[in-house]
């Protein structure tokens, strides 16, 4: 059986673009770096990498990419965002710059830098039960947290908590996937493999 190779874009304005691109190409996917609207045509899916979300948001606007990215999501293509990517995919943002725009798409409220400063960044093994992945080393770097989810959103992972807050760190809504941690910084490609299965 011959199947057509899928093509995934990685938004390449700023951040750890190379790490996502490597994980995807190791999975046999063709990778395109996206810097302008025309780069989005003929893509099967898109990854929004980790980076500085305020910077990426400004660069999206300066490259006239905001509307094309929203259209890409409306077309129900698969999109995955890690850390800054989660922030950019959220419908509601807390603790961002007052003028910070997100692409939106996932019905969640996300708090930026929710754990504190870099000295509070950490790594921890977590289980992603709903998608059948256990013992995943999650790397949180000045990471965001999901504080509220809408009815269409499935919670894939949350950190163990004693308090009332839910500490949600991975969600899915249809073909849209977001993690507040960085699987691309580990050698473990199971989350990317799951994302590729959504294409």
């Amino acid at each position: 059986m011959v199947t057509k190779t899928k093509t995934v874009g990685v938004l390449a304005l700023q951040g750890d673009v190379r790490e996502h691109a490597k994980m995807l190409s190791d999975l046999g996917v063709a990778v395109t770096l996206v810097k302008k609207a025309t780069d989005l045509s003929s893509l099967d899916g898109l990854v929004i990498p980790g980076g500085e979300s305020t910077t990426i948001s400004m660069l999206i606007n300066r490259a006239n990419l905001m509307q094309p990215l929203r259209d890409f999501i409306k077309a129900e293509k698969a999109v995955y965002g890690s850390c800054a990517g989660m922030i950019l995919l959220s419908d509601q943002l807390l603790d961002g710059r007052t003028d910070q725009e997100t692409i939106g798409g996932i019905d969640i409220t996300v708090r930026r830098n929710a754990f504190g400063r870099q000295v509070d960044s950490f790594e921890k093994e977590i289980d992603l039960g709903p998608i059948g992945i256990s013992k995943f080393m999650a790397v949180f770097i000045r990471a965001p947290l999901v504080e509220k989810v809408g009815g269409q959103v499935e919670i894939i992972a949350a950190l163990p908590n004693t308090a009332q807050d839910s500490r949600i760190v991975m969600v899915q809504q249809g073909n849209l996937l977001a993690t507040s941690f960085h699987p691309e910084l580990t050698g473990d490609n199971r989350i990317h493999k799951y994302f590729v299965s959504l294409l």
Binding site: R18, K35, G51, E52, T55, R117, Q118, S121, A163
Partner: protein
């Protein structure tokens, strides 16, 4: 965090190096107060470097350059939401501990400040906060990584507005990495001796063809084209010091340097953002700088 989440580990090498990965493709700007920090963040900087005087003024004023006033650092941390870095003197363990306690996101053990120790750098692996260090060549970069640096920047010659040393240092580091990659395995042992760097790190670089940490560039970048040149030469991102706030129109120049760094491979964009920036900082010819006033030679 630690009470309800006991298995979480802070300060791991992956968490420290990973922080630098998130800065890639970006511009880190030197700022001396909250207002400059806001200008930097508005322009799209991925982080700011808090310091008391930009390198050009350190050169002009002379005297001993030290860690900044904690009040000033607090003010900058409060003013922006992007990461804040700050400089400690080479070997000044206590300045570094103070900066960590203040909550800065990255410490630059920097030759731009007057060295506190002429033989020993800080043991950076002892800290939770990550460190960036300068290097002029591969051996120096690997010695700093061995001490725990989680990010390297080529040194250039800070405060000169002259990109020639930055080019020399990034070309040297990249060239030495390329050379290692082509060496027969058995020659790596004596090469480690020549580089005065641990064999394990030398072997790792030879195998992967890159440093195990992110490599930025610094020292003398004054124009959008300078920033794009450094990306062209293989830097992961750029530090800009005096180049922005010692120029005629810092707001416009800061944004232009960010845009040129993102679009370094598109000369149309670099050309467009280079228009109407007003005066660039006045440059210094390195040949006229006496050896005692060259910062790149500091660090060992």
């Amino acid at each position: 965090m630690s009470q309800d989440n006991p298995a979480a580990q802070t300060g791991t090498s992956r968490v420290k190096r990973g922080m630098a990965e998130m800065l890639k493709g970006g511009v880190i700007m030197d700022v001396i107060d909250a207002e400059q920090a806001r200008i930097a963040e508005d322009a799209g900087a991925v982080a700011v470097m808090a310091l008391e005087r930009v390198p050009a003024d350190i050169r002009k004023d002379g005297g001993v350059a030290r860690m900044s006033d904690p009040d000033m650092i607090d003010g900058i941390i409060a003013a922006v939401s992007i990461p804040v870095m700050a400089k400690a003197r080479i070997g000044h363990i206590v300045e570094a501990k103070v900066l960590q306690a203040l909550g800065v996101d990255y410490i630059d053990e920097s030759e731009v400040l007057t060295p506190a120790d002429e033989s020993h750098h800080i043991t950076k692996s002892d800290f939770i906060v990550p460190f960036v260090c300068g290097a002029t060549n591969l051996g120096e970069a690997l010695r700093r990584i061995n001490e725990g640096a989680a990010m390297i920047r080529s040194k250039g010659e800070a405060g000169t507005g002259n990109v020639v040393e930055a080019v020399r240092h990034i070309r040297t580091i990249k060239g030495e990495i390329a050379r290692l990659r082509n060496l027969p395995k058995e020659e790596l042992f004596s090469e480690a001796k020549n580089l005065q760097a641990p064999y394990e790190l030398v072997a790792e670089v030879a195998a992967t063809g890159q440093l195990p940490v992110v490599l930025f560039t610094a020292g003398g970048i004054a124009t959008p084209a300078d920033a794009a040149l450094m990306m062209e030469l293989g830097a992961d991102g750029v530090f800009v010091g005096s180049g922005i706030f010692k120029s005629g129109d810092p707001v416009k120049r800061a944004k232009a340097i960010v845009d040129a760094t993102t679009n370094w491979d598109n000369p149309d964009v670099v050309g467009k953002v280079s228009r109407g920036l007003g005066e660039a900082m006045v440059g210094i010819n390195i040949d006229t700088l006496p050896a005692s006033e060259r910062y790149a030679g500091r660090g060992w």
